[in-house]
Symmetry: C2
Subunit: 215 residues, 2 copies
């Protein structure tokens, strides 16, 4: 039986809430998030680095990922740059530089790489900087944009052009052990978490018990 004491919030309550309370509360609802550093540069080569937690898988074939961008936020450079060059990078965050990653959200006059002390590196294919300290890095080209009428947020879909990941973290079946690679996650606006695997589970079928995948 349920003995937990639940707090309930309703839409009618939201407008009365203190702004920061509402922001923290609503940002908590989407669970643990795919937090990444997004690397871009403008045509002149000036780099930008921004922490994003609205990052998601869109499709495997073609290989697509999406990010949501608020045009009115400090991250607007990301949007301007990626539309200018057609490229951006996604870089997983590790515990040894998560404070620097968080700090990229400050409004700097110089490149966030320089300001927070992270290292830009480049491949031949992508006109955007990767983060050398990151162990899982994805280079993407701009593919599709949708403007969300309801709040002015912009959905950017990128096509995966290249992937760098530690060779010893890639399973024989293609699964990348991002926990072993040190990737962390975040919740709400400011909380960062490491992970501990419960299990990989077999493909679900109606009359077959699940088994744990050992790879």
């Amino acid at each position: 039986m349920e003995t937990l004491n639940f707090a309930t919030f309703r839409a009618a309550d939201f407008e009365q809430m203190e702004k920061q309370f509402r922001t923290n509360l609503i940002n908590s609802l989407s669970g643990f998030k795919s937090v990444c550093l997004v690397g871009t540069q403008n045509r002149a080569g000036v780099t930008n680095l921004a922490v994003f937690s609205q990052v998601f898988h869109v499709g495997a074939n073609p290989a697509l990922m999406g990010i949501l961008v608020r045009p009115d936020s400090v991250r607007r450079d990301t949007l301007t740059n990626l539309q200018e060059t057609g490229f951006f990078t996604l870089n997983h965050i590790r515990a040894d530089f998560y404070k620097q990653a968080h700090q990229t959200a400050a409004r700097y006059e110089v490149s966030e790489f320089e300001a927070v002390g992270l290292t830009p590196i480049y491949s031949h294919a992508i006109q955007a900087p990767y983060v050398a300290e990151s162990h899982v890095r994805i280079g993407l080209s701009f593919a599709e944009r949708h403007n969300l009428a309801i709040n002015g947020t912009v959905l950017i879909i990128g096509r995966v052009e290249e992937i760098f990941a530690p060779a010893n973290c890639i399973a024989a079946d293609g699964y990348v052990d991002i926990e072993k690679a040190g990737t962390i996650t975040c919740s709400s606006l400011d909380s960062y978490h490491t992970t501990q695997r419960l299990a990989r589970l077999s493909y679900a079928k109606p009359d077959k018990p699940l088994t744990e995948i050992n790879w």
Copy 2:
């Protein structure tokens, strides 16, 4: 200096890959995900429950969340139902029922609630079932739909109508301690993980050192 051995994959390689390898690989790239059970029902009241890992925050004011739905997948009932009734629920997953949550992906003829042994519960406001075993539950009304031209995926944006969360997990500043609430995360298609907090970090400003938030 970098001593890690990196594997590199390029877009030109993707088409040659064995399908399951590519699926696992590309699904790994978005990091740890906001995995939820999505509850819906049709007009006749027949319930559906499906595990989704493409769930994200869209905005705090108005309070909005998004999910990506593949119309050609087993999850099509979710899309049909939520467009029919205008409602859906998001239910965080805990370690004590993650195998049942994963099992909802199987193609059942009956309601997944019944098939996997989870319990539907209802509020007055939302014409969709919540999961009683979940400790963080969000009820949403349909707000906006975008069809992604590039792969036929559908973006659904919902307006947050009500929130249920354990009272002892809500900080004074509105942050919900979802780790304390037992919320787990997933990676790629089949791996589930608990979390361990590193810290909550203060709002980033250019010339101010970050501090840890103790709440």
